[in-house]
C-alpha cells in the first residue's frame, strides 16, 4: 500500500469515491507529531428512515475553494497546527463515510472546538446539495433548523 502523504498544515479534498479513514487519521497524526491533541470527526450515511442512498452534488468553482477558506479560518481562529477536511460527493450508501475532519492543536480544547466549528459550517454553510433515495424515489433535503442554530453559536 502506497503511503498516504498529506499536505500540511491544511489538507482539503473533495473525493468522488470512498476514503480509508484509519489510514487518513494515521497519516494526519504522523504529520502532527508535536501536537498535544488531535480530534477527528467522521460522518457516515445512516441507514434509518428507509434511506437506500444519498447523493451530494457540488459546484466546482465554489465548493472546494469554500472548504479551503473555512479550514484556513479555523486554523487562524483556534490556533491549529493543522487541519484535514475531506468531503465525499456523488452517490453513497448507508455506512459509507460522507465527511472526515481532523484538527491538531497544542491543547485539547482548541482541537475540539475547531472540529466542532468545521462540522457546523460544513453542514449548513458549504456548497453542497443533498438528496436521498428512499423506496419511493429521490427526495431533496432541506437544511434543518437545528443546523442553523448550531451555526449561530460561532458568530
Amino acid at each position: 500500500m502506497a503511503r498516504l502523504v498529506l499536505s500540511a498544515p491544511l489538507d482539503v479534498r473533495l473525493l468522488d469515491k470512498g476514503m480509508s479513514v484509519g489510514e487518513a487519521l494515521a497519516a494526519f497524526n504522523a504529520a502532527h507529531g508535536e501536537a498535544g491533541g488531535v480530534v477527528s470527526f467522521l460522518g457516515k450515511v445512516r441507514p434509518d428512515g428507509g434511506v437506500r442512498a444519498l447523493e451530494l452534488t457540488f459546484y466546482a468553482p465554489l465548493t472546494l475553494p469554500g472548504m479551503e477558506e473555512l479550514a484556513q479560518t479555523a486554523i487562524n481562529r483556534f490556533v491549529l497546527e493543522g487541519a484535514l477536511v475531506w468531503h465525499r460527493v456523488g452517490v453513497m450508501t448507508p455506512g459509507e463515510a460522507i465527511v472526515l475532519v481532523a484538527t491538531a492543536a497544542r491543547h485539547r480544547r482548541s482541537a475540539f472546538e475547531a472540529a466542532d466549528f468545521l462540522m457546523d459550517h460544513l453542514k449548513s454553510a458549504a456548497w453542497f446539495w443533498k438528496r436521498e433515495r428512499r423506496d419511493d424515489g429521490w427526495h431533496w433535503i432541506e437544511p434543518r433548523g437545528e443546523d442553523h442554530a448550531d451555526l449561530v453559536r460561532w458568530k
Partner: protein, 80 residues
Amino acid sequence: MSVTILFLGPLRDLAGEAEREVAAPLDWDGLLGAVGTDIAAQLEDERVNVACKGKVLADKRALMAEDGDEVALLPPVSGG
C-alpha cells in the same frame, strides 16, 4: 454570443435540465425571463444565490453576464 445558466440541486429538477444556453448579454430581468416562471419565483427567494464566473454575487439583481460567462443558480445548501 451566449451565456450558460447552470441549475444546481433541486433547481435542476425544476428546470428539467442541468444547464441551458441563452443569448448574451444577460441581466437580472433577462435571467428571470429565460428560466421560466417556476424558477423565476425561486430566484426571488433571498436564500437563493446567483454566481457569475464562479463568484457569488453580493447583489444578484446586479447580474450582468457577458458572452462565454457561466451563471449558476444556487438554492439553499443542505449540507454534508
